[in-house]
């Protein structure tokens, strides 16, 4: 939030960054060179609970009203052109189906590299997001493109598996060439109040990721309350997440303007407290260019312009891209084309 907010969390300021963390195998214990202040917060379930429950509460009515109010911003002409291109470049173009095949993934990769074959000035997407067994295929299809390969891992989407299985899943994805890993938190442990267990698992996955970026999926729809989402956001950031992500896209409630706004407040406050910037990724249910632009307004007016880049903000989406492309064509030509003028992959 601010430097004053930072003072409230002053003990976190000296926390170790992930680069400092030892690359030990599956350490459920905090890094040994971690300052005692951080150890205090994560020393036990009780201290972690005290910290997370000490975060300011969230007033649901007020949060949703603010998100709705920002949704009335009217983004036109030059601002719209900027927002559409930015949104395209922020997409993690995703396919996460049981029916995924190498052919499907290759088609999606081609689309991600060149979203609009009729207009080569269209920016590529940020990443292609697939299951871990298709990472190698995607890696090959994206070679030399600058588009990253993201893989879901840790028994996505339920996250219900032994930790060893989750870590193996992560390691395989990274070994196959994933640049980014989208893990799910253990919602069962979180809802049971075993915060430290959730924390340790993220730390362990963080280690298994090596140099790959880690996005931590909170699954907001299952956390259910905004207070929980705020706590889970801080928990994930404390454990070393590079990104916090709203959802898997596999449950009833996924990214909403309100829960994304809340997570943007969390990363803003976390940077003010620790100096470390964390990205945000809403995923699931964002299908129209109009919605995407609303999310960018949320970013601009909550976390701030520093987050307006694919390094710090992503959209997890599949059908969004084509609507963005149609709007982009409309802006360029003055005419609506139609779904037959964008590629279906």
């Amino acid at each position: 939030m601010t430097c004053h907010y930072a003072r409230r969390y002053a003990r976190l300021v000296t926390m170790s960054l992930k680069a400092d963390a030892p690359k030990a195998p599956t350490p459920p214990t905090p890094p040994e060179d971690s300052p005692s202040a951080l150890a205090d917060v994560t020393a036990s379930d009780a201290s972690l609970r005290r910290f997370l429950h000490g975060l300011p509460g969230v007033d649901a009515v007020g949060l949703e009203a603010r998100a709705a109010s920002l949704g009335t911003r009217s983004i036109k002409t030059t601002a719209k052109a900027y927002a559409l291109d930015l949104a395209i470049s922020m997409i993690d173009l995703t396919t996460l189906e049981g029916a995924d095949t190498p052919g499907k993934v290759r088609a999606l990769c081609a689309k991600g590299r060149n979203p609009d074959p009729t207009d080569r000035s269209t920016p590529p997407v940020a990443a292609i997001c697939v299951y871990s067994d298709l990472v190698a295929t995607a890696r090959e299809a994206l070679a030399g493109s600058g588009v990253a390969v993201a893989s879901v891992a840790t028994a996505f989407p339920a996250g219900r598996a032994a930790r060893s299985v989750k870590l193996a899943d992560t390691a395989e994805a990274v070994a196959a060439g994933a640049d980014e890993v989208d893990m799910v938190i253990d919602r069962g442990a979180f809802l049971a109040g075993r915060y430290l267990s959730v924390f340790e698992e993220i730390v362990a996955v963080r280690e298994a990721c090596g140099d790959a970026h880690l996005k931590v999926i909170l699954e907001n729809g299952e956390l259910a309350t905004y207070d929980n989402i705020r706590r889970a956001s801080w928990l994930a950031m404390l454990a070393g997440a590079d990104f916090i992500k709203t959802s898997t896209g596999k449950v009833g409630v996924n990214a909403t303007p309100a829960n994304t706004l809340l997570m943007l407040q969390a990363v803003r406050d976390f940077r003010a407290a620790t100096g470390r910037q964390i990205g945000v990724k809403p995923a699931g249910g964002i299908r129209t260019a109009k919605d995407a632009v609303k999310f960018l307004v949320l970013v601009n007016e909550t976390a701030g312009p520093d987050w307006l880049s694919p390094t710090w903000f992503r959209f997890g989406a599949s059908s969004l891209l084509n609507d963005l492309l149609m709007q982009r064509q409309k802006l360029g030509t003055g005419r609506y084309s139609g779904p037959d003028y964008v590629t279906v992959d």
Binding site: M1, H4, Y5, R8, G57, D59, R73, A79, A83, P305
Partner: protein, 476 residues
């Protein structure tokens, strides 16, 4: 590159403003008896929007006579028949909401986002709500056959021109009274557009008369012996003068006057939403709100944190063209009001409070004032005591709930208050002790046709809105 929002102006073409406007008397528009006129300008550009008739004593007399004549048949109509007219008006307001919103923003200077999303929906809601009461008055708790008072005189302010009209006209007509209404001098246009809606709805001549004019017109209306009820919303100073005028007469009086609301933020509040509430509380409608949360009382333990967040949030406020859909804070309504805001803020600085305002470019023409906050304010400062009626927030701190109550109540006013805490029991404890007509919990500046509104002490008496709003127009 940054995300600069391109201008997104609402089209002016939707509203056709006649070059001159007459008085609306007996169902028709006509010039003032002495043909006096005045001009109304757009505060955002100082452009003259239209010329408006300035009603004199003869016009007031004619309007009151017309209303008196209409009262006989209007009050004799079954409530369900009166309701039909009000429902029709409500629907017409909804149908023409966009046009009325643009007109309101042009004449008043408020952002189109607010006139579109707050004012106009509330105007329609008030007419729908009181239309529903018109045939149920005998069940409203005012006796088996409550009777209307007669001719009501309404004098309304410039901050919510059409909404204040609705607050007066809807209950007055629903209860069987007829009315003579004087809109504010600087914002007559939506009331005159409303007169055309009444014509369109077939409202019988004389049931509502609208007289534009200045303070003298209002004074003549209030003093006219032919009216039975005065409903005034405006400054405490004028309210007191009206109270003196009607003292000793048969006239009933409701006054909705100024305020200096305490907006109380406890350390356990949902701080992000509290900051949003503070901004809504004082910068909504440029702070031209009688119930504005103009005194922020923040618990000292979180004062730095809240202030820093508040400043960051204020830096994102977009000040400028009221017709731009992305504008958050519009123009100050008049040069006179701007001068008053300047005078009080200068007094604040002179008395030692620390002034802060975000960097923002203001348009070169029109009346503008940056969203401003003062820290280091104490109860002894003028800016903690006097109503500024502008986008200026005074920040004070407190240590305990008891101290918050004492400071909040330490004002001659008592219109509204706000409490931010996640602890329900504390919220109720505070609400029982705060002397204010409206208390918001974990929100601010929320209005609803079903909820009574009004104040204590120098904030006035009588209630508008809800079932209570019927009582002040009935002989009970």
């Amino acid at each position: 590159m940054t995300f600069d929002y391109a201008p997104a102006p609402e089209s002016r073409a939707i509203v056709d403003i006649p070059a001159s406007h007459g008085l609306f008397v007996d169902g028709r528009f006509r010039p003032a008896a002495d043909e006096a006129v005045f001009k109304t300008v757009s505060p955002a550009t100082e452009e003259v929007l239209s010329e408006v008739a300035n009603a004199g004593d003869d016009d007031v007399d004619a309007a009151v006579r017309s209303a008196r004549k209409a009262f006989e048949s209007w009050s004799a109509l079954p409530g369900s028949e009166r309701a039909k007219y009000l429902f029709r008006i409500a629907r017409l307001v909804q149908e023409r909401a966009r046009e009325l919103a643009v007109l309101e923003s042009l004449d008043n200077g408020k952002p189109i986002r607010e006139s579109r999303d707050a004012d106009l929906p509330l105007v329609a809601a008030h007419f729908f709500y009181y239309a529903g009461w018109a045939d149920k008055l005998e069940h409203a708790g005012f006796g088996p056959a409550p009777r209307p008072l007669g001719v009501a005189g309404g004098v309304i302010p410039w901050n919510f021109p059409l909404l204040m009209l609705a607050w007066k006209v809807a209950p007055a007509l629903a209860t069987g009274n007829t009315m003579v209404l004087k809109p504010a001098e600087t914002t007559p246009l939506t009331a005159l557009a409303f007169a055309r809606i009444c014509q369109q709805a077939g409202l019988p001549p004389g049931v509502l008369n609208i007289l534009t004019g200045d303070g003298a017109t209002g004074a003549a209306l209030v003093a006219h012996p032919g009216i039975d009820k005065v409903a005034f919303t405006g400054s405490t100073e004028v309210g007191k003068a009206i109270a003196r005028t009607v003292a000793g007469t048969h006239k009933r009086l409701t006054l909705e006057l100024g305020g200096k609301a305490a907006h109380i933020v406890f350390e356990d509040a949902a701080l992000d939403q509290a900051v949003e509430g503070i901004v809504q509380g004082i910068f909504f409608n440029q702070g031209h709100v009688c119930c504005a949360g103009s005194r922020l009382l923040v618990q000292e333990s979180v004062a730095d944190e809240v202030l820093a967040a508040l400043k960051a949030r204020m830096s994102t406020l977009r000040v400028g063209d009221p017709l731009d859909k992305n504008t958050d804070v519009g123009a100050i309504n008049s040069a006179e009001q701007l001068a008053r805001i300047r005078e009080l803020t200068e007094a604040g600085e002179a008395e030692g409070a620390e002034r802060w305002a975000p960097e923002c470019e203001l348009p070169s023409t029109g009346y503008w004032f940056r969203p401003t906050l003062f820290t280091g304010v104490t109860q002894a400062h003028r800016i903690a005591q006097e109503e500024i009626f502008g986008p200026v927030l005074s920040v004070l701190t407190f240590r305990t709930p008891q101290e918050a109550v004492e400071k909040a109540n330490n004002t001659p006013y008592g219109l509204s208050a706000g409490i931010w805490t996640e602890k329900g029991s504390r919220s109720l404890w505070m609400a029982n002790r705060l002397r204010a007509g409206v208390i918001w919990s974990n929100t601010f500046n929320k209005f609803d046709a079903t909820s009574p509104f009004g104040g204590y002490q120098e904030s006035g008496y009588g209630r508008e809105g809800g079932r209570h709003g019927l009582g002040v127009y009935l002989d009970v």
